[in-house]
């Protein structure tokens, strides 16, 4: 039997279905929780866990409560994902249970494929570890993941990077390569360029509300390991005849990826452009079903019937997305969503970033969720290169008085991460950065976009702009701005054996792997896909990251864990 750390079931579900595990003689599976393990007539029990101390405590509890007298006696094994941890083993040893485990191994799962062009390590605390705790372990895993990727898809000849973490990862890759010369492989390289980007080079983008279809689904309902849980009301049972049945009360769970034709088409569109696509699709499907009336001959009928499964799939997919779009629209048309977005857009375009904002004050007074407040205040701080001391103190006081003094710890974390800080030197670099990188576009076209700024209805994500400018005309043109952003920027080359050097055909696209260290949002992914698609773009992008994030999950990962409130 396998005992799962619940967090791991999501990512593992993406690479191995239960049927596969069953084929490999996994009899039963349980989730890890304290207490006695459920009875199961099995010889071997394997724990699949992340190396976390709190999980070790649960395992200890499991093992200690195991009935020694039972026969046959069960054997325990432990499998750490992604890495074996000496610290955890030490911990188990101190609890006196280390000896109970016959095998202690690791399953080095570094990068998990999420889609045809997207890989993630799903390491939720990577940003916090790197920037708050200066713990670079996740960077080590990132480097290892990149080595694996190179072993499969060839050495990447060019490495660019911006930021301290990027520099570290590049150094580690070079070092690993030097230490194991065997890594020189004879695979023709798939990637031309690797771009390593620190999340803290662009703290702004994740704070803003994503306005693509997929981004909004994530902002509102949260996508986890490509699955989303939605309120069931809009997904009522299909048939009228079963009137006796109650409405479903459990959330509706859907998988979202590009395997679904319709979703692939709309996921990266600005939400304002989704409705027209859906209605067009509805007309096409209606017409297709209408054709059955015109099918006269047996051949025609046969052809119609053969298309039926595909049409039905398309219909159910359309029904789902129409419902989701309705759910989202209810929110995007609400007054509060509008007000919130107005303030965000003011900040990003540089308006009134240096004084206390009335809307934020109002939200605090009405006790809106703390994370929402923190997102806005941090956004203002980032768009002003830090807040004036007086403004910062005012916000801090209001937050502490309304939400509790213990949040002083969270505010401190945000300050350390550079998200919320006093302005130093009295200089605000953001306007220069905004203008040089054209981060704010006035004439944004949401329906037929001509620039990446459509993903935030005006704001072009800084991170993606850096990728775009790297491809053309090159970073040399923006040296000044790069210097204003934190961390070094650099270029490295990895020598390829002569036989493997690419001779580019005219018009052939270059392939760039963009690795976001510290997380990436769906809107940024959409923007990169948009660049890949541009006819004269010349570059295709594959995206890798430590974690798929949005502003809320990101801020949450930086918040101090507080005891649950008494009610």
């Amino acid at each position: 039997a396998i005992v799962w750390d619940e967090y791991l079931t999501g990512p593992f579900g993406l690479i191995a279905q239960y049927s596969l595990l069953k084929e490999h003689e996994v009899e039963k599976m349980f989730t890890l929780k304290p207490g006695r393990l459920p009875p199961a007539d099995v010889k071997n029990i394997i724990f699949f866990v992340r190396p976390k101390l709190e999980l070790m405590d649960i395992i200890t509890d499991n093992v200690l409560r195991e009935d020694r007298g039972r026969s046959p006696q069960r054997d325990f094994h432990i499998l750490f994902v992604p890495r074996r941890s000496l610290l955890c083993e030490q911990w188990l040893k101190e609890q006196g249970v280390l000896g109970s485990f016959i095998h202690r191994e690791q399953y080095s799962l570094d990068l998990i494929p999420f889609d045809g062009d997207l890989l993630s390590m799903e390491s939720e605390s990577a940003f916090k570890e790197c920037y708050l705790e200066s713990d670079q372990t996740s960077l080590y895993h990132a480097a290892k993941g990149l080595m694996t990727l190179q072993a499969l898809y060839g050495t990447i000849p060019q490495i660019f990077g911006k930021g301290d973490c990027a520099r570290h990862v590049a150094n580690m890759m070079i070092r690993m390569k030097r230490e194991f010369p065997g890594s020189q492989n004879s695979i023709f390289p798939v990637f031309d360029t690797l771009l390593l980007l620190d999340r803290n080079v662009d703290l702004l983008t994740p704070l803003a509300t994503q306005l693509t279809y997929e981004g909004l689904i994530d902002e509102i309902y949260g996508i986890q390991n490509t699955y989303v849980k939605l309120p069931p009301e809009k997904f009522a049972p299909k048939k009228q005849g079963e009137g006796g049945k109650d409405l479903p009360t459990e959330p509706k769970k859907l998988q979202l990826n590009s395997a679904e034709e319709l979703y692939a088409e709309i996921r990266d569109k600005n939400f304002n452009a989704v409705g027209s696509v859906l209605s067009k699709k509805a007309k096409i499907i209606s017409a297709a079903f209408e054709e059955r009336h015109h099918a006269k001959t047996v051949g025609e009928i046969k052809q119609f019937v053969s298309q039926l499964p595909h049409m039905q799939a398309a219909r159910s997919s359309l029904a789902n997305h129409t419902s989701i779009a309705e759910l989202i629209k209810d929110i995007t048309t609400s007054e509060d969503f509008f007000d919130n977005l107005t303030v965000e857009q003011e900040f990003m375009s540089g308006i009134d970033t240096d004084k206390v904002n009335n809307y934020i004050e109002d939200c605090i007074a009405q006790k809106h969720p703390l994370i929402k407040i923190l997102r806005l205040v941090c956004l203002q701080s980032v768009c002003n290169s830090g807040l004036k001391q007086k403004v910062l103190d005012h916000y801090k006081r209001e937050i502490l008085q309304t939400y509790g003094y213990e949040h002083i710890l969270t505010l401190n974390n945000l300050e350390k991460a550079g998200l919320l800080k006093p302005q130093t030197g009295g200089r605000n670099n953001y306007p220069t950065i905004r203008k040089t990188l054209r981060l704010w576009m006035d004439d944004v076209n949401e329906q037929n976009p001509n620039d990446i700024s459509y993903v935030y209805s005006g704001y072009a994500p800084l991170s993606v702009r850096l990728a775009q400018l790297l491809a053309r005309p090159g970073w040399r043109s923006i040296e000044e701005v790069l210097k204003m952003l934190p961390g070094p920027h650099f270029e490295e080359r990895q020598q390829l054996p002569t036989g493997l050097q690419k001779k580019r055909q005219h018009g052939e696209n270059r392939v760039t792997l963009v690795f976001f260290l510290g997380g990436v949002t769906y809107a940024e992914i959409a923007a990169l896909r948009f660049l890949s698609q541009m006819e004269d773009g010349g570059t295709e992008y594959i995206i890798a990251t430590t974690k798929l994030i949005n502003g809320t999950t990101w801020i949450k990962s930086l918040m101090e864990k507080l005891e649950p409130a008494p009610f």
Partner: protein
């Protein structure tokens, strides 16, 4: 609100900003409805088999997913599982058979043609095989060298072995010099797991002062040790370390954090009292002081009120029993509580709102907002009136709202204030458009009528007649005004 509505309208039209709204010309809502209709109408065409499309259990989990089967195996017996087996297989295969079209712009060549299962296999193959083959070759030594196999590894080799998850004995690194080289190697490898392991070893085998001194010049290792101490809860060691490093603010915060682990309020209060003297930044010190004072107050208030409630003598507590204790609640919540249960108390009482306001220097705006919400909830309209009334030195009274009257109206409306109360404040909303908006929304007819009268807007006034009851006083009022307007126009 920073901008009043009228400005806002103009703002959106004139400025370069784009509001996030749906295009009017292509009304999305109607499109959505349309497509929904279309989809629904299709349902009767298609037969029952459509369930084959998404073989998901009711929870929405695709059948065969890991978390689904955990539930299954945890609840069901083996036999029921066998019964399901065939559907499981079928389920997962039909799931995979969904039309799969890699997006045109994805690098489909990368993962091309690999469905979930095979990509798993190939990936895991890659991880195990190529990993070992290509850049992690097993160390194999000639037999001749085998005799000192376990003890001759250099610090570098040791670190490398540990990085690959092999257990190594570190005991043979005896001299300080050796230990430091080992640590530096570990840091250079960037693998936190190994760094921590080495640190645990050093922590056990070195004197504190020496360890601290050496870590001071090794920032990365230092961060790892701090993180480790925090994780394992070795608070005392951690504080010693931070003190040694003179990172006083961190010492303070780290100590303050401890209060979260203290459940007993008396002990927590004592602990917080001890925190006040810690070297926080100036700004934070005042917050910590406030935190302590607040909890101190809450303990007093809680004891009194619990007693009052139990005695059952106070009508207020009988009618509105407390939902929870006030202990450990934020300041604003406490203020609300005190405005609710202790509004009329004299300033000298710890539980009185005015006392809280003074002690914690709560800004006017915050105070009015909170008090308003509390009194409105009790439907104490007289208090609301008094709260918003100020007297000047001549004894004239005037209505003032630091939060703006539109907010007052919002709060009152949320507490179901009667129209008579509501309209008094709607009338005071300064911006005409906002006032009209609110008045129309909450049916404060008098305010609407008077506003149109002042605007001399005959057309709107005439139109509004249809909104009031026929034969009502309001209708008469409109008629009067309209005829007056005509007379004035001709005179």
């Amino acid at each position: 609100m920073s901008r009043v509505r009228a400005d806002e309208e103009e703002y959106w039209h004139s400025s370069k900003f784009r509001a996030f709204t749906f295009d009017d010309e292509d009304d999305e809502l109607s499109q959505l409805k349309e497509s929904k209709r279309a989809v629904n109408s299709l349902r009767d065409i298609v037969d029952d088999d459509d369930d084959d499309l998404e073989r998901v259990s009711w929870s929405g989990e695709p059948v065969g997913s890991i978390s689904w089967s955990i539930k299954e195996t945890a609840s069901g017996s083996t036999s029921s599982l066998d019964g399901r087996d065939s559907s499981l297989q079928k389920g997962s295969s039909s799931y995979a058979a969904l039309p799969k079209q890699a997006s045109s712009y994805s690098l489909s060549s990368l993962f091309k043609g690999r469905n979930k299962l095979s990509s798993f296999q190939s990936l895991s193959d890659a991880l195990t095989d190529t990993g070992v083959k290509n850049y992690a070759p097993e160390l194999r030594r000639p037999k001749a060298e085998y005799k000192d196999y376990s003890s001759d590894w250099s610090p570098k080799d040791t670190v490398r072995r540990m990085q690959r998850g092999k257990v190594c004995s570190l005991e043979r690194f005896r001299s300080l010099q050796d230990k430091l080289v080992l640590l530096d190697e570990a840091v250079a490898g960037h693998d936190g797991n190994v760094i921590t392991a080495v640190l645990i070893f050093l922590k056990r085998t070195l004197r504190r002062e020496i360890l601290f001194r050496e870590l001071e010049v090794r920032q990365v290792a230092l961060c790892h040790l701090i993180h480790f101490l925090r994780e394992t809860g070795e608070q005392k060691f951690l504080l010693d370390l931070l003190r040694f490093l003179d990172r006083t603010e961190e010492v303070a915060l780290s100590q303050y954090r401890e209060h979260l682990n203290i459940q007993d309020v008396e002990k927590r209060r004592e602990f917080l009292k001890g925190c006040i003297g810690l070297p926080f930044s100036a700004e934070d010190t005042s917050h910590i002081q406030d935190h302590y004072t607040l909890l101190e107050r809450q303990i007093i208030i809680e004891a009194n009120d619990r007693h009052l409630e139990m005695a059952g003598q106070s009508e207020l507590f009988r009618k509105y029993p407390r939902k929870a204790s006030i202990l450990n609640m934020p300041l604003v919540t406490t203020l609300f509580y005190s405005c609710f249960y202790h509004y009329t108390e004299a300033e000298g009482m710890f539980s009185s709102p005015t006392n809280l306001k003074k002690t914690f220097k709560i800004p006017d705006k915050q105070y009015v907002l909170t008090a308003l919400a509390a009194r409105a909830k009790l439907r104490a309209w007289g208090d609301v009136d008094a709260l918003l009334t100020t007297k000047n030195w001549l004894g004239y009274t005037k209505k003032k709202a630091p939060i703006g009257f539109h907010r007052v109206v919002e709060i009152l409306q949320r507490n179901n204030a009667p129209v008579q109360v509501l309209q008094e404040y709607v009338r005071l909303v300064e911006d005409v458009d906002t006032r009209l908006n609110l008045a129309t929304k909450y049916k404060c007819h008098d305010v609407v009528i008077e506003t149109y009268r002042d605007l001399k807007d005959r057309i709107q006034l005439t139109a509004y007649k249809s909104k009031v009851e026929r034969g009502s006083a309001e209708e008469e009022k409109i008629n009067n005004i309209l005829s007056n307007m005509v007379r004035n126009a001709y005179s």
